[in-house]
Subunit: 375 residues, 2 copies
């Protein structure tokens, strides 16, 4: 048996090979399929990014047309599943609702009982289509509002905002949401993608894999960070209080939310794109001014240590300016990232090996079972 | 950044430190908390094994008494969740039903919104108590039978068989089920345990972690193996056909189900214990004779290569002899293993680090986005 070194949290330990995403953490660059994230944000749509990740190449015009049509046709949920959403206790966390609904959807999908990769591709497509519907339906039901059925004449991002608010969004709002979805679609081997892959590697079904991704993303160390950023801005309260807050936090070794990343040691390119939107939307946001001041002050203090704003620092401001409830930020992350989870699962299953790492035993051995009366 | 070697499926790569379980694959030995599995099977109960794993030591008599009382009091499900089980399409896979029900249970548990390890310990206790109920209720509902409410005067194993069949089991049947649960309670860093830990490492909730474990165990490369063993016995059909079947399978490089293990290169100690029960129950089983013959023949052919029967080779025969439906074998595995999942999660969270391995990029870089009309 070969001996491998131990790295806690598997930091820097390669877990798979992939052509999907590359992060140059030193330079602050992110690529999907070798193409810089800025080009995707500028030219593409979430629909195209999702299909590109699933196919592991840019689609043809015809492929994208068919995929987009299939997405638009697959958005709604079985009526039994909508009833289930109405029955959920309204205090359910939206990520828990998403996890439970996706788990339940398997019961209504014949493809879940098929083993081939084509069936898994079809499930991926349907889940990408349905995630916004699940999140929007649950949000409206818990707020005692009527659900808004998907509108197939709207794009993925447009339709999501429409189902959430009941109003057709402006072109600008749709563009902002579309770009936010593009930026979050994949991010190499993060914890939720890895969780999906571990589950899929036992040859379990696609629903089980995606459900694991949702569960991992729900954690505050992963998907919950942009919520925590807004909470921090609320604590700071005003621009005048920024310096004092940061100095006190750093003195107490408290983490400044939205700064630093295990991979990026430079400015997160996604944060740069979202910062522009946050600036444009700044009239809608009480947070933007505080954010800029926090960034300025932090850059003076910690940029030389490789600590920069990450994507979560500006995404929350953008979603807040669009009028979205804070506890939907992580579900929006999931709406986007489901494409990455599915794409990594499909890629890994082409040459699968079950994930079964080892463990370092730290206990004693050959102890005796002591009968309970003698303890 | 340190460079770590790549091992597909993370084989032999240490992912965590633990005092829970040690496998000596060369010698064919398994220890929980340093105590050989044979001693647990001989002297302990599933309840005590579960509590020992959660506490990471043998409990006192008083602790076990309280834990057992808490388990017995926590078995039933909220009525809304029972309604949900009635509403599930009956063709739902029992593992999918378990996954969906556990996911839904979070909505009814205030502790899921608490971050401390004590809250997670309480959830672990309740899930250990409720898993048999979920599996038994779903099985009876899909068969159009009335559900059998848990009986708090029965032990964990007894009560499970009672809820499944509606009859109080014999002492012997209960002992067999209890030992089967003891043997499956933990097994170091397997794929489902690892999936639970990856999810928990984002500081997500205990339900999300356990749901990931269920999803991983559902896969035929992991929990589904004992089902596959019985299917193979059915294909073999009779003792006379064993030699021919094995020779043909080996010639076609087909896997003989229930043989070999990534860690054990000797006889799986759990298989040895279950084999004894299978032998005692052999009058109830059409499979035992075929199994013995398969083992004999395989030992001649492949034992020198370190390929021996594993736990799945005999567990299916035992469950079948107890009259349990084949598609409940993996859920029974989950009923036992939930203790291991929870114990590893609790242990890891004492000194948590998010699982975020790296990925080896195999694609090109700095490609151009080609406008769709030019593709």
């Amino acid at each position: 048996m070969k001996e491998y070194p131990f790295s806690k949290g598997l930091e820097d330990v390669p877990a798979a090979e992939s052509v999907l995403t590359y992060i140059d953490g030193q330079e602050g660059k992110l690529y999907y399929l070798g193409i810089p994230i800025e080009e995707w944000a500028e030219n593409s749509t979430y629909e195209e990014v999702a299909l590109s990740l699933l196919l592991r190449r840019l689609p043809t015009k015809g492929e994208l047309k068919v995929f987009d049509a299939a997405l638009r046709s697959s958005r709604d949920l079985p009526e039994e599943v909508i009833d289930f959403i109405y029955d959920l206790p309204p205090q359910t966390h939206p990520m828990s609702a998403l996890r439970s609904v996706v788990s339940l959807l398997e019961s209504y999908d014949e493809d879940a009982r098929r083993d081939d990769l084509d069936a898994k591709f079809r499930i991926a497509l349907r889940l990408i289509a349905k995630f916004p519907t699940i999140v929007a339906y649950f949000d409206r039901v818990r707020k005692n509002l009527d659900i808004v059925r998907p509108n197939p004449s709207l794009s993925h991002a447009e339709n999501f905002l429409y189902m959430l608010t009941g109003k057709i969004p402006t072109k600008y709002e749709s563009k902002v949401m579309d770009v936010a979805l593009i930026l979050h679609a994949d991010h190499e081997m993060n914890a939720s993608t890895f969780a999906s892959m571990v589950v899929a590697s036992t040859l379990s079904d696609m629903y089980s894999a995606i459900v694991a991704g949702i569960g991992a993303l729900k954690g505050p160390l992963h998907g919950g960070a942009n919520e925590a950023v807004l909470k921090m801005f609320d604590e700071i309260g005003s621009v005048d209080n920024v310096e004092k807050y940061i100095e006190e936090s750093l003195a107490q070794k408290k983490k400044i939310m939205g700064f630093g990343h295990r991979v990026y040691k430079a400015y997160d390119p996604r944060a740069r794109i979202l910062k522009k939107f946050a600036e444009e939307l700044s009239k809608e946001s009480k947070y933007y001014e505080i954010a800029v001041k926090v960034e300025e002050y932090m850059m003076k203090k910690v940029a030389q240590k490789g600590i920069f704003p990450n994507v979560d620092f500006y995404s929350g401001i953008v979603y807040n300016a669009l009028g979205i409830s804070t506890d939907l930020f992580t579900p929006i992350f999931a709406i986007s990232r489901v494409a990455g989870w599915a794409a990594h699962v499909l890629e890994y299953l082409e040459d699968n090996r079950i994930f079964r790492p080892s463990s370092i035993y730290k206990g004693e051995l050959d102890k005796k079972y002591i009968p309970i009366d003698q303890r």
